[in-house]
């Protein structure tokens, strides 16, 4: 196997001059395969669009590698991207865990890595080559709680966390602080796990506490199923409020009528087309015949941001275009308008507060975000 591989690499290296390689580091076969697959679809679409005109006169080539949510494999992949494929940039995993395992390698190898989705703490601190582009929970979470408690007047909260999902655990912390800061009252905290399908026990517990609303920090699959169980047990007028983890058509595909009225924040909404997103959504539907979700949008934007930085720096060398990328300002992505702070942390504005109406997200409120 090794012999064949090196020959192949040799071949690619000579051809490297007329393509710009961007690595896709994601999960295609593991537990988080749905995030990885969607990110990749978004990236491919972006690359296709860019290749119509070329970037710096070259073609973008997405080099895919599946890590099946195994950090050892992810680490090897990043090494391969850097040493063998000689990629210019890596679109990193949407999860914080994998990003933290791979970012130090990228940074040391001086290749730009932009995580399309990781929201946990201490990611960009890993080094100057590490970026991320996603609406930070620290921004969206408080805005949402503020709205629910102060504008809708709901006080009593049932908070549900998915304990095996780091995103959910992190967001729950943010939600909790925001609830308390706004004078809300957490009447019960429950835990679920990603992959669970039965929530009857937790919902029965919640029912006994009569909350005004349910805050869930996890993803759409469990969110939809929890709400179904909530209705099944006869709680007919409370809704779910959550993070952008709920942003997927799967949410109502699974939840049906039960998720009507649910609220979440996000930086991207297929139902709220702006000039940029309208075209993206239309093209996406044409290409994949389904609605895009948050991961599609983030994967798409990541490639576009990289390409823009390359054009600006007139170079595909990460050591060169990294600076241009760090100066990205008001980039009109489909997942929101992005500006990088000095520490490469994104500020995305505005935050949309959305609500499910007739099995679609509809706009409740646009919250502008302070640019510092």
């Amino acid at each position: 196997g090794c012999g064949g591989q090196s020959a192949e690499n040799g071949g690619e290296q000579t051809a490297a001059s007329d393509v710009i390689k961007i690595g896709f580091l994601g999960d295609l076969t593991g537990d988080t395969a749905s995030y990885g697959k969607n990110t990749l679809e978004g990236m491919k679409m972006a690359a296709e669009e860019l290749n119509a005109d070329g970037v710096l006169g070259k073609q973008i080539k997405i080099v895919e590698a599946d890590h099946r949510y195994d950090k050892a494999e992810a680490a090897n992949i990043v090494q391969k991207f850097i040493n063998e494929d000689k990629v210019s940039a890596i679109v990193g995993d949407p999860t914080t865990g994998i990003t933290k395992a791979t970012a130090p390698i990228s940074n040391q190898g001086e290749v730009v890595q932009i995580s399309a989705g990781s929201t946990g703490p201490e990611v960009v601190e890993i080094g100057p080559y590490i970026f991320r582009n996603t609406l930070l929970d620290a921004v969206g979470g408080p805005a949402t709680m503020d709205y629910a408690i102060n504008e809708l007047g709901w006080k009593n909260v049932a908070l549900i966390t998915s304990v095996n999902n780091d995103f959910s655990v992190g967001l729950s912390k943010i939600f909790k602080d925001a609830i308390l800061a706004n004078g809300g009252n957490i009447v019960i905290e429950e835990s679920v796990q990603d992959g669970d399908t039965d929530f009857s026990g937790q919902v029965s517990n919640i029912k006994g506490k009569n909350p005004d609303f349910i805050v869930f920090s996890g993803y759409y699959t469990e969110g939809g199923l929890i709400m179904k169980e909530v209705r099944k047990q006869g709680m007919n007028d409370i809704v779910m409020v959550g993070g952008d983890g709920l942003q997927s058509p799967t949410f109502w595909e699974l939840g049906g009528q039960a998720v009507e009225g649910s609220i979440s924040y996000c930086g991207f909404s297929p139902e709220q087309p702006t000039d940029e997103t309208a075209k993206f959504i239309e093209d996406f539907k044409a290409k994949y015949s389904k609605d895009p979700d948050l991961f599609h949008a983030q994967g798409y934007d990541a490639v576009k941001i990289i390409a823009a930085a390359m054009e600006k720096a007139q170079s595909a060398d990460p050591k060169v275009f990294r600076d241009a990328m760090a100066q990205t300002k008001d980039f009109p992505g489909v997942s929101g308008i992005t500006t990088f702070r000095e520490n490469r942390e994104p500020i995305k504005s505005p935050v949309y507060l959305l609500q499910v109406k007739d099995q679609k997200w509809s706009l409740l409120k646009k919250v502008p975000v302070d640019m510092d």
Partner: protein, 305 residues
């Protein structure tokens, strides 16, 4: 000292370190399942304990890596004994499911432990694992395993696998031996865990699930239960195969699954059967000698077995 580091492209270095860690893990499991016949479906749990221990020792107590490495082994072994004490009295599939259960319990507990970051885990672990120290530890483990296999202790373990009642009637305190053996096997897993932690730099409970245990088990069975060279080969192959299959992208795991079935069907006793190191050396040597006279003829048969 660091003559090995930087000798190879970083990608290959990274893969070799991964292979080395898996060899260490698989040899520990081989001792438990291959040599002694106690099916464990929870080896990843000890990898996990070793990894977390080592991360805690270096990050929270600021102690050097070598200390962390030892602590990882010892703490893993302690848990091994703690779990082994009740569980090793069970047999066959009941033992298997209990080891599996322990792995799941451990994960569940870690998710709920803020000290180690819960689901977010621990990040920023100093990268102390190098090609050199991995190779040294792997070699040490291999040597220890080979020596043990040939000793009175190793022989008794095989006897327990073959017939526990008869071995008790020969004066072997089967339970005590199983416990000692489990301690050694889990100690080894702990070492692997320490190397893992300081290579990957991030630990999350989800990395150490059931499937990780299964992966390690696959290496042992595929290589040949009870065979040290087999286990090394199995660990190398199964780390390399997904890497080689990388071109096939999302078909990769389908192919991997099918390959497992095919390899088992064609080599039901594993790639190396139960060949031990001695026979391997003898055979290679024989072939080498024979090759001096009849090089031509040997080329054909040299491919198999």
């Amino acid at each position: 000292m660091a003559f090995l580091d930087g000798l190879l492209p970083a990608y290959y270095e990274s893969i070799i370190i991964t292979v080395g860690i898996y060899i260490i893990l698989a040899l520990g499991l081989n001792l438990i399942t291959g040599v002694t016949g106690q099916l464990s479906l929870g080896h990843a749990a000890y990898l996990c304990i070793g990894a977390y221990t080592s991360a805690i020792v270096t990050m929270k107590f600021g102690l050097p890596f070598i200390v962390a490495l030892l602590c990882a082994g010892v703490v893993s072994a302690l848990f091994g004994v703690l779990i082994g004490f009740p569980v090793l009295r069970l047999t066959g599939d009941y033992l298997a499911i209990c080891t599996l259960g322990f792995g799941e319990i451990l994960k569940s507990v870690l998710f709920n432990m803020p000290y180690v970051g819960g689901a977010m885990g621990m990040a920023g672990i100093p990268p102390k694992t190098t090609l050199l120290n991995t190779v040294i530890i792997a070699l040490l483990v291999i040597i220890v395993m080979i020596r043990m296999e040939r000793s009175r202790f190793g022989r008794s373990l095989v006897a327990i696998r073959e017939d526990e009642i008869a071995s008790e009637c020969m004066g072997i305190d089967a339970f005590k031996y199983k416990l000692q053996m489990f301690a050694i096997g889990t100690f080894t897993a702990g070492l692997g865990g320490a190397l893992w932690a300081h290579k990957i730099m991030v630990l999350q409970p989800r990395d150490f699930g059931f499937m990780k245990s299964i992966e390690i088990l696959n290496m042992v069975v595929l290589g040949g239960l009870g065979s040290i060279p087999g286990t090394i080969l199995g660990a190398t192959l199964l780390t390399a195969i997904p890497e080689i299959l990388r071109f096939s992208s999302e078909y990769r795991m389908i192919i991997y699954g099918a390959l497992l079935v095919i390899m088992m069907i064609f080599r039901p006793h594993g790639l190396m059967g139960n060949m031990n190191f001695n026979t391997l050396v003898k055979r290679t040597f024989k072939r080498f000698n024979a090759g001096a006279d009849k090089e031509q003829k040997n080329k054909k048969s040299g491919m198999e077995g």
